[in-house]
Symmetry: D2
Subunit: 368 residues, 4 copies
């Protein structure tokens, strides 16, 4: 079987529609447009309902890929734009490529797989049927990546649909009731069900009844990252981990933060990837850190380490914006910069108030 090799390119952006860095990488041959399988981006909107920077960035990225590799590759690339670069978070995109490779198989090399689900009937959203559909796709993406064991999965990105007035009406016309008629709530419930789907596929939870979705905070995945978008009716799943048949110097691991200040597990994960540090990573170590992908949220109990926080009662500023800025400070204080992917809306993605953190690093002594 043909070896594969994953490439990860972090590119700073000057605006949501700035694709100059990507175009330059295409022009210089550093990125092969036809090999792009996914892009995760941080854009400088509010990350909430009316954050149009995501749509603008996705449009610009899709147009750029299509110009170089045609519309099919562009449409199949999983583009996940996460709004909100609070605090020092740096707007950027991380481009994931999968290329055929002649090099030797490397145990532990970064593996990437993809899968899609069929369009989800609107009445399934936020319910156990969505959980099941996502779980099946996660396992398919694992197979695509050559990952055999759930423990070898370190990050699962799911793009999931949401409910719109049209979709709800269509279901109602068939006599089917949706879980909510509120678009914003449906985003949270869709992320919740998708994340429980990941948890189920990875053996982190057992049965998931309808009532657990969005409610049972003790059920969560330590590796799920979910994002809801109006532009799709099914799911796109990207799995990253350690699989068979992969080459190259990139490695992945993950940590689970119990809350936004729980950085020691992240420090430990960095150390496992060869980036051990007392305190902050040294400048020389930073270049080997290719990507840090984290979820963050405000603790629902209104307290952090026993002290009151005000993120949930601040009517001027969404809790998700508070949480991203705060977690970015905590993670950045370890890494030494803030060009990291911190995303909000962490339903069933890590424990209540905490979140999963995936880290991709290059092995020491290796250079792409």
């Amino acid at each position: 079987m043909q070896r594969r090799r994953a490439f990860v390119h972090r590119i700073s952006t000057g605006a949501p529609d700035d694709v100059a860095g990507l175009e330059q990488a295409f022009a210089e041959g550093r990125i092969d447009a036809g090999s792009v399988v996914a892009i995760l981006g941080k854009t400088e909107g509010n990350g909430l309902v009316n954050d149009w920077t995501r749509a603008l960035a996705a449009r610009a990225l899709r147009d750029a890929i299509a110009r170089h590799a045609g519309p099919k590759v562009a449409d199949e690339a999983c583009l996940v734009m996460s709004g909100g670069t609070e605090g020092g978070l740096a707007p950027h995109v991380t481009v994931f490529e999968v290329r055929p490779d002649d090099g030797p198989e490397r145990a532990g090399a970064l593996a990437i797989g993809r899968a899609r689900t069929a369009d989800l009937p609107p009445e399934h959203l936020g319910r156990s049927s969505q959980v099941g559909a996502v779980a099946v796709a996660v396992r398919a993406a694992m197979r695509d990546a050559g990952i055999l064991e759930p423990d070898d999965v370190h990050f699962v990105q799911v793009k999931c649909p949401l409910l719109t007035g049209e979709r709800i009406a269509e279901a109602r016309g068939r006599g089917a009731d949706c879980v909510t008629s509120d678009a914003l709530k449906s985003m949270g419930l869709s992320r919740a069900a998708a994340s429980l789907g990941v948890a189920f596929a990875l053996g982190e939870v057992e049965a998931v009844p309808d009532t657990a979705v969005g409610h049972d905070l003790a059920a969560f995945s330590t590796r799920a990252s979910a994002s809801a978008g109006v532009e799709l009716a099914g799911h796109e799943v990207v799995v990253m981990g350690r699989g068979r048949g992969w080459s190259g110097p990139l490695r992945i691991d993950h940590a689970t933060m119990a809350d936004a200040l729980d950085v020691e597990p992240v420090r430990a994960a960095l150390a496992r990837l060869g980036l051990a540090a007392v305190g902050q990573l040294a400048p020389g170590q930073r270049s080997r850190l290719k990507a840090m992908l984290a979820k963050a949220e405000a603790p629902s109990c209104g307290r952090l380490r026993g002290f009151r926080h005000t993120m949930l009662v601040d009517s001027d500023l969404s809790a998700t914006r508070h949480a991203r800025a705060f977690a970015a400070g905590a993670l950045g204080s370890i890494v030494g910069h803030a060009e990291i992917y911190v995303s909000g809306g962490a339903e069933h993605q890590g424990p209540d108030g905490g979140g999963p953190v995936a880290i991709i690093a290059e092995e020491e002594g290796e250079h792409v």
Copy 2:
């Protein structure tokens, strides 16, 4: 000469006007209302022009002290309310007491001194005459604290005035021009001049021409913390450091952060105070940390560690709110909680994009 002893009490608050914790400490004798010299509080407003949580908190605190110790003590206590508890920052007040003491003098014990300036003519605000007035008061407060050397000063809080329409008109009536007619700008310029006054008193800068105020970012104090308020026409200065004639187990030190991710100097200062830790302070260490007092701001160049940040171009959310949340995450990741004092508006308070951090801790083995 009579020995003195400083006490520092950090009290969580449930609302800006919550003085229940303070009242309880009065009732139980843990705090002597007549000995209160200053209170630094974090309140849950936006920290900007229309943040009325500061006025509400100050009114509630003043009323509480006056009930127990009369209006004179209440009026003389320096009440500095800093708005903005972004991220996980916990609303709280830190009460500073100075009591006569019979214990032995302890070298290095926390010393607190106060001074006031005369009312500042409005046309002096933001100019070298304000710098000079504050410098004189800082030296007077040092003497009040028994601090002999500038290097023994670790924190200087200045409450400074701002310009109002009435004050500007009064000056104009005398043929005097003020530096600005914009109240918001005058707050920044007043903090700037006051901070340069601290820097001058501590020998951190030499001459300060009018043109340096608010402009020469290379001139700054590593120990100043300034806050402008409409309720006073002069300045209140509180100096903390190591002085002669003080008793008790409290110690103070400080660090200067070059930017909001520059936490290693803070880790070193904690270690100097006996709170050494690889990574985060252990729970047992946290109880000995009495107060952390920091300033934070967004780098004016638009970049942090070489990567673009969006704090200065976010029209929905003030840069000061971004910066507090982010710095709180970085500092909290070291301390292990976020009941810390992080204040914005750091003109000439630490380097551009960074800020001073003062730390008060109890010596090991000592308990009040």
Copy 3:
């Protein structure tokens, strides 16, 4: 029986805690502190959960009344502070006095009555039992005002409680379940039930089942204005209308706006009070308009007059802030200024997307 006379004083404020205008009116004898029965104020906060300008204003007003008339009058005065002065809305307070009077009874003269309910068991909040309790109090306040017929009621202000963690826990301890555990939601449900209580008392609705509260948008009062506050556990009700035994030149009427642009009913109500105008009130007419009290909200369907509005999907800016600014423009364009009381959160207060407007004017030729 002793005649009574109502006085209405609109006083501009320079800040939430500005009581200088009130103090001056006390000093000049224009207002008798002991006769103050209610104050409705607009303060410059966001009008949402973390709007502390309301608490600050209430504290300052209460302190001022207590200084002049003692704590009992101050505590019994119904202080309703409504946050949010968006658009051109002018921060101000409207002081309502009731004094004994020797003048002749005037048919149609403004009558004001008050009543209170007992403390509401937390589990009754947002349910038909709250509706019933408020309805009883509205009828009691009508009697207090000498108003015999529901049609003679033109404005009912209800201050209602909300659920806190403590209250919910207390109920749970007795085995009683509350309608929600979310403080913000409980504010809306409390206003909803209180407003349906007004509607029931005035014969605008018949039975009100639990399920109608907050849901049946077709059930509403055309004269209710409800405001939830954490500082009380029961309800304060102030009724205004036309009653027996009142003297003086003040008159009241009301209009119902179907949406925020539906200003013609307001124009008609002004005309009924002797303030007829083609277009905007002439400057000479404005001085006779003593108070305009309105509720406003965004249409829940997402459309206004057939066109899409974005108030409900703007994650940066609450719909209530949008709605107040917009309605203030519409009402101000008729009145000729914007020192009017426009309050948000109009559950069952007027139709969906609209709201009640009460107007108090002085009869032509009369001057207090």
Copy 4:
């Protein structure tokens, strides 16, 4: 000479990138893509520095026109996207077409002309040289429209450039100093100079010294509407009025509001266009109103009709957002809906706190 005829199409949008209505108009032949000369749109962002809905809408519109009429027409169409649909403002685009026509010349028919300036040297921005360049272009656009007299001009839209770091550096390299180094300020100064250019061309001001730009609030145009954008280095000018050689039933007029409540001049202008109404336009009249184009802003003195407003001291919410919502309520109360173009940032566009309002209506009895 060939007659021309202007067409104006107001199209509601469901999102910033929603061009379905435009595409349908193309498909049904109601709009000829090749004849589109300008589109003025309201998008649902914040209208401030980080409002990316404008870029998203412009990209979607440009792509749509280019698909149907090629890139040249798309690039030449003047696309002015104004962010901010506060209050009930409805997101929409207004498409302006100019087609050759065989019909008879109609005195007073809507005339539209365009012109461009050369790229502006950065050091000219915000200074009298920019004023002059725009004035020349306004006169050229008048000629293009066949408008002979300044009094026949009723609306001038100018798209003007702003300063970026690159542009400032380029000027500095040549030894030239720019008026400011702050991008946001340069937007206001560019709008200011452009608007004074309109005022100069229309004879509303005489000489314009550098010092007047952005400062002399008594100098303004009653017909200018200026918008700054980073995507151009020169100016695009669109003039509308009454010119020679035009056919069709559309008519234009304008009013000047002294403040946001000054709606009677608008009522009078509507009446001059055959839309006379006591109070609000009747539903039957509304269909003849094709477009209302207005500017709005907060009075800089902090007062509106003598009462304090808080728009300029609200640190949570920009004054421009307040002002648009408020003016939309006032204008919508006359028109009967809020699908109107209300734009903020009105430097020298109408008097301080007020703004120009242009109205395009169809003659009675005429139907396109």
